[in-house]
C-alpha cells in the first residue's frame, strides 16, 4: 500500500499538481492526462527525482521525506524518453544500478535477456535506437525489489513483442511482489492484456478517478 499525503508540486510558484490524499494498493494504475497536464512531473516527484511538498508513505512508515534511502529502495522509475550519457554501455548502467539496488546477478541477466538487450551490453548507448534505450530504461526500473514502479509512457517506441514481455513482467511483479505499478500512456491500455485496477486523470491540476478501465 502506498499513501500519497498532501502532495503538491510547483514550478516557480505555479501549481502543477495537487493531490490531498491518494491510496494505492497492489496492482496497475493508469494515470491519464493531456500533454502538459503534469503526469511526468507527478511521476518524477514520486520517484524522488525532484522535490515536492507533502509526503509519500508505505504502510510500514517508510516515506519519501523521512527515510529517503529506504524509500528509494522501493521506488523505481522509467522515463518516457530515456537519455543516458552516450559513451556508457548498458553493462555500465545496469551494473551500477544493480549494485545500488542490491539486485542479484541472476535478476540482471534475466531482465536483460527478457528485454533482448543482453547482446548489446557492451555497446555504447550512442549506438542504441530509441526502442533499445527504452528497453534499457525499463530493465533498470525492474532491478532490485521495488514496490512502487512508475513507468512513464512505457509503450512508446517498443515493438509488439517487447510490449507483450513488458505486460508479462508487470503482472509478475504485481503477483509475486505485490508491487504497485503506475503507468501513463496515450496508448489504449484497455487493448492490452494488462489488468488495470483503476485509472485516474490529471486535469486542472488535480487527480480525479476516471472511468473504470
Amino acid at each position: 500500500m502506498v499513501k500519497i499525503i498532501n502532495f503538491s508540486k510547483r514550478f516557480s510558484g505555479e501549481l502543477i499538481v495537487d493531490i490531498p490524499i491518494l491510496e494505492l494498493s497492489s496492482g496497475a494504475y493508469w494515470i491519464k492526462g493531456d500533454n502538459g497536464a503534469g503526469k511526468t512531473t507527478f511521476f518524477r516527484s514520486l520517484a524522488g527525482l525532484i522535490p515536492c511538498a507533502g509526503d509519500v508513505e508505505f504502510e510500514d512508515g517508510v516515506s519519501l521525506k523521512h527515510s529517503p534511502i529506504q524509500y528509494r529502495k522501493r521506488v523505481a522509475y522509467a522515463e518516457a524518453e530515456p537519455l543516458f550519457p552516450p559513451y556508457l554501455t548498458s553493462k555500465d548502467l545496469l551494473s551500477f544500478v544493480a549494485k545500488a539496488r542490491n539486485s542479484a546477478p541472476v535478476q540482471l541477466q534475466l531482465l536483460t535477456k527478457k528485454f533482448g538487450i543482453d547482446q548489446y551490453r557492451e555497446k555504447s548507448c550512442a549506438t542504441y535506437s530509441s526502442g533499445m534505450l527504452k528497453k534499457l530504461s525499463l530493465a533498470i526500473a525492474f532491478l532490485g525489489s521495488p514496490k512502487l514502479i512508475i513507468l512513464d509512457e512505457p509503450l512508446i517506441t517498443l515493438d509488439e513483442n517487447a510490449q507483450t514481455i513488458l505486460t508479462a513482467i508487470i503482472e509478475e511483479y504485481i503477483r509475486d511482489q505485490q508491487a504497485t505499478i503506475l503507468l501513463s500512456s496515450h496508448h489504449l491500455l484497455e487493448n492490452t492484456e494488462l489488468k488495470i485496477e483503476k485509472s485516474f486523470t490529471i486535469k486542472d491540476k488535480i487527480l480525479i478517478a476516471s472511468d473504470p478501465a
Partner: protein, 371 residues
C-alpha cells in the same frame, strides 16, 4: 542561434583573452609581439595555427548546435538554393571569426608598415583557409545532421573489457565534452602552481604564498566543478532516484575530484619548496581539495547558472585570500571548507532541483547523441 549563442557560450574564454591582453600586456608589448609574428612568413604560421584552433572550437560549437534535437527545424536548410546556402554559411562563420579578422587586420597593418608583403600575403591566405574550412565544415553538418555516431576505437577496445566505475562516468563526460575547458584549466592551474613554487628559489617565503597560488589555481577549476555538478544533476539525474547512501554519493564525487585535480597535486608535490616543512605539503594539498568540496556544497543550496555562481566564487576567493594573509593555517581552512561544503551538500541534496535554466554553453553540451 549560431552567432549570438557562440559568443555567449564562450564568454569566459573571451573574457580571459581580453583580461590577458588588456591586463598583462601593454600597447608596445602587443606591437612587439605582432612584429615578431610577421617578421618572417614562417613565424606567421604561429597566429594562423591559433586561428585554426579557434576555428576548431567554433566548428565544434556549430556541429553540436546542429545536432541538438530542438534544432531539427534547421534540416530544411538543404532545400534552400545553393547560393543562398553558401551566403548564409559564410555570413555565420565570418561573424563568428570576427576576433580573428580583427587581429589579422592588426598584423597586416604592422606588416604593411614594415613593408613585409610576404607576411601580409601569408596572413591573407591563412584567413582564407580558416574561412573556407569553417564554412565547408558548417555546410557539411547542415547537410548531414544525423551523421551516424561512431564509437571511438578505444571505446570498442575497452567496452567489452571494462565496467566503468561510477566516478568515471563524470570524468569521461568532462574529458569528452569539456576537453577544451579541462585542458585550459589544467594548463593555467599547473603554470600557477609551478610558477609559485619557482618563486621560492629566488627568495624566502612562508607557506602563505603557496596557499595563495593554490587558491588561484583551484579557482581556475571552477568550470570543471560546475561541469561535474551538471553531469550529476542533468545527464545522470536518474542517480538521484537510487538508494545510494549520502557518504557513497559524496565519495564518488570526491574520487572524481581527486582524479581531476591529480595534475595540480603532482606538480605541487614534485616542485614543493625544500625550504618548507613537508607537513605544509599535506596542509596545502588538504586546502587544495577542500575548495572544490566547498563550492560543490554551495551549488546545492540553490540552482544557479554559471553567471550567478561566479560572483560567489569571487567573494569566496577574496575571503580566503584575506584569511591567508592574516595567517589562517591552510589545514584549518581545509577542514572548515570541507566540513561546510559537505554540510551544505547533505542539507540541500534532496531539496535541490536542477532547472535546465543553464548557460548556453551548458545547453550546447547536452548534445546527447554524439560520442
Amino acid at each position: 542561434m549560431f552567432v549570438r549563442q557562440f559568443y555567449i557560450a564562450n564568454a569566459g574564454f573571451f573574457l580571459l583573452v581580453i583580461g590577458f591582453a588588456g591586463g598583462f600586456m601593454r600597447s608596445y608589448d602587443h606591437i612587439a609581439l605582432a612584429e615578431f609574428f610577421i617578421s618572417t612568413p614562417a613565424l606567421v604560421t604561429l597566429p594562423i595555427t591559433m586561428w585554426l584552433l579557434y576555428a576548431l572550437m567554433m566548428m565544434n560549437f556549430n556541429q553540436e548546435t546542429v545536432r541538438q534535437k530542438e534544432n531539427e527545424f534547421i534540416y530544411c536548410f538543404i532545400i534552400l538554393p545553393i547560393v543562398e546556402q553558401w551566403w548564409m554559411v559564410v555570413r555565420v562563420v565570418t561573424i563568428q571569426l570576427l576576433p580573428v579578422f580583427l587581429y589579422a587586420a592588426f598584423l597586416c597593418l604592422i606588416g604593411w608598415k614594415h613593408g613585409l608583403i610576404y607576411s601580409v600575403v601569408t596572413i591573407a591566405v591563412g584567413i582564407m583557409l580558416v574561412v573556407t574550412i569553417s564554412a565547408c565544415h558548417f555546410r557539411w553538418w547542415l547537410h548531414h545532421p544525423n551523421y551516424e555516431a561512431k564509437t571511438w576505437l578505444i571505446s570498442r577496445f575497452l567496452n567489452p573489457r571494462l565496467t566503468r566505475p561510477f566516478p568515471l562516468f563524470f570524468i569521461e563526460w568532462i574529458v569528452r565534452k569539456d576537453l577544451a575547458m579541462l585542458a585550459g584549466s589544467k594548463i593555467f592551474s599547473g603554470l600557477i602552481i609551478w610558477g609559485t613554487t619557482a618563486l621560492y628559489k629566488t627568495d624566502t617565503y612562508d607557506v602563505k604564498l603557496l596557499s595563495i597560488g593554490i587558491l588561484i589555481a583551484v579557482t581556475a577549476n571552477a568550470g570543471i566543478i560546475l561541469s561535474v555538478h551538471r553531469v550529476e544533476n542533468f545527464h545522470l539525474h536518474f542517480v538521484r532516484g537510487l538508494p545510494i547512501p549520502f557518504l557513497r554519493r559524496v565519495s564518488s564525487i570526491l574520487i572524481s575530484f581527486a582524479v581531476l585535480l591529480l595534475p595540480e597535486t603532482i606538480i605541487l608535490a614534485k616542485n614543493f619548496p625544500a625550504e618548507l616543512p613537508w607537513i605544509d605539503c599535506v596542509n596545502v594539498i588538504s586546502f587544495l581539495f577542500s575548495i572544490p568540496i566547498f563550492f560543490y556544497g554551495i551549488l546545492y543550496v540553490k540552482d544557479r547558472n554559471q553567471d550567478e555562481i561566479m560572483p560567489i566564487v569571487f567573494y569566496c576567493v577574496i575571503g580566503w585570500f584575506v584569511l591567508i594573509l592574516f595567517n589562517a593555517p591552510p589545514w584549518l581552512l581545509g577542514i572548515v571548507n570541507a566540513a561546510a561544503g559537505i554540510m551544505l551538500w547533505k542539507k540541500f541534496y534532496y531539496s535541490f532541483e536542477y532547472q535546465t535554466r543553464q548557460t548556453p554553453r551548458a545547453k550546447n553540451q547536452t548534445g546527447l547523441l554524439s560520442e
